[in-house]
C-alpha cells in the first residue's frame, strides 16, 4: 500500500502545492501545511475507494485539512506570490501587468474565508461545478450561487485596491 501511496502522491503532488499556496503565503507555513496534508492523506489512504478519481479525493483531503489545519487568521495570504522568479515561464505568459494582476488576485483571495478560498481555487483549476460540489460537499446549485458572490467580492476587493 505504501508504494501505491507514494506513487499516487508523486504523480499528484501539484494538488497539494496549489492548495498550500492558496491557504498560506509564508514558505514555512506552506511547508507545515504540506506536511500536515501528507499526514492526513496517509492516514485516510485506506478509505480511498476507486469510485471517485484519486485527484478528487486528494483535493478533498487537502482542502479539509487546510480549512481545519491552523488557528483562524494565523495563516493569511497577503503578500505578493507571483514574483518573477521562474525562468521557465514564457515571457508572453509572465508579463509585468499579468504579474501585478495575479498578485492582486492572490491578495484578494487572501481576504476570503476558508471555504470561499477552496471554491475559488477549484474554479481557477478549471474544475466543473459538479467536481467542486463533490470535493467540498456543497450542492451544485449552491456552488453556483457562492461562485457568483465570490467573483463579485474579488472584483470589489481588487477595484478597491484591497
Amino acid at each position: 500500500m505504501k508504494e501505491e501511496f507514494l506513487r499516487d502522491i508523486i504523480i499528484n503532488q501539484g494538488i497539494i502545492h496549489k492548495v498550500t499556496r492558496i491557504y498560506c503565503d509564508n514558505v514555512d507555513d506552506r511547508k507545515d501545511l504540506f506536511q500536515e496534508i501528507l499526514i492526513q492523506l496517509w492516514k485516510s489512504y485506506g478509505t480511498f475507494k476507486e469510485q471517485s478519481k484519486f485527484s478528487t479525493w486528494m483535493y478533498r483531503v487537502a482542502i479539509n485539512t487546510s480549512i481545519t489545519a491552523f488557528k483562524r487568521g494565523s495563516r493569511q495570504t497577503t503578500k505578493a506570490l507571483f514574483v518573477r522568479e521562474i525562468p521557465s515561464i514564457a515571457d508572453d505568459v509572465y508579463d509585468y501587468e499579468l504579474e501585478e494582476n495575479l498578485n492582486m488576485l492572490h491578495t484578494a483571495i487572501g481576504q476570503l474565508t476558508g471555504i470561499e478560498k477552496s471554491i475559488i481555487l477549484l474554479y481557477l483549476e478549471d474544475k466543473s461545478y459538479e467536481d467542486i460540489a463533490e470535493i467540498t460537499g456543497i450542492t451544485q446549485n449552491y456552488v453556483r450561487v457562492k461562485m457568483n458572490r465570490i467573483k463579485k467580492k474579488l472584483e470589489s476587493l481588487i477595484k478597491g485596491k484591497i
Binding site: I39, Q40, W42, S44, F48, R60, G114, L154
Partner: protein, 227 residues
C-alpha cells in the same frame, strides 16, 4: 480585470511554480513519519492523551479502594484506627462505576467516529464529527469531574465528622464553636473543589476547548452557505 482572463494564466504560472517545489519519495516518507502540527493532528493527540489520563485516573481510584493500607502502615493505622463509614464505601463504588461507564462510552464513541479518516469525509460531516466528538468528550469530562468532586467533598466531610466524633473533649466544645468549625471546614472544602475544578476547566480549554470553538466557527460558515 476579468477573472476568466486570469484563470488560464493562473494555471500556467501555478504549474511552473509547482515544478520548483517537487518533493521525492524519501522526503514524502520522512514527512509522513513526523508529528503533524495542524489542529486535527493536535486534537487526535490530545484526545488520545485525555483517553490515557482518564484510564490512569480510573486505575488510581480503583486501586485506592483496594490498597491494603492497614498492612502497609500497620503501626500508624492501629493507633489511629477510624473505620470507613459504609456510606463512603458505597459512594466510592458508585463513583467508580460512573467514571468507568464514562470511560467505556468515550472509547466506544471515539472508535465509532473514526477520527483518523475525517479529512477524507464530506467537509460538513467531518467537521460535525469532530465537534460532536469534542462535545461528547466535554460532557463526559465534566460529568466525571463533578462526580469526582462531589464524592471527594462527601468523603472529606464524612472523614472530618468521624474525626471530630473520635476526638477527646469534643463534648466540652460549645455548639457555637462546633458550628464555626463546621463552617470553616466546608469553606476550605469548597475552595479546594473550586480550585480543582478551575485547573481542570483551564486544562480542558487549552487542550480541546479553543479548537472546538474554531471548528464550530468553520462549521457555522459552511452551514450558513447552505441556507
Amino acid at each position: 480585470m476579468e477573472l476568466n482572463e486570469l484563470k488560464k494564466a493562473w494555471g500556467k504560472v501555478s504549474e511552473a511554480k509547482d515544478q520548483n517545489h517537487l518533493v521525492d519519495t524519501d522526503e514524502i516518507q520522512q514527512m509522513v513519519q513526523r508529528r503533524g502540527s495542524g489542529i486535527l493532528s493536535k486534537l487526535e493527540r490530545n484526545v488520545r492523551t485525555g483517553f490515557w489520563l482518564l484510564g490512569i485516573f480510573l486505575m488510581l481510584t480503583i486501586a485506592d479502594q483496594y490498597i491494603p493500607y492497614d498492612r502497609i502502615f500497620p503501626s500508624y493505622l492501629n493507633e489511629q484506627h477510624i473505620p470507613t463509614p459504609l456510606v463512603i464505601k458505597i459512594i466510592g463504588v458508585i463513583v467508580n462505576l460512573i467514571i468507568m461507564l464514562t470511560f467505556i462510552l468515550f472509547v466506544y464513541r471515539y472508535q465509532k467516529l473514526k477520527i483518523r479518516n475525517l479529512t477524507a469525509d464530506n467537509m460538513q460531516k467531518a467537521l460535525r464529527k469532530v465537534v460532536q466528538l469534542l462535545d461528547t468528550f466535554k460532557k463526559e469530562f465534566y460529568l466525571a469531574l463533578i462526580v469526582f468532586s462531589c464524592a471527594e467533598g462527601a468523603g472529606f466531610v464524612m472523614g472530618v465528622l468521624e474525626g471530630i466524633k473520635s476526638m477527646s473533649g469534643i463534648n466540652a466544645m460549645s455548639n457555637r464553636r462546633i458550628i464555626i468549625a463546621g463552617f470553616l471546614i466546608l469553606l476550605v472544602m469548597a475552595a479546594l473543589i473550586a480550585l480543582i475544578f478551575y485547573i481542570f476547566h483551564k486544562g480542558f480549554n487549552s487542550l480541546y476547548g479553543k479548537y472546538r470553538l474554531q471548528l464550530i466557527g468553520t462549521l457555522n460558515e459552511l452551514e450558513e452557505t447552505e441556507e
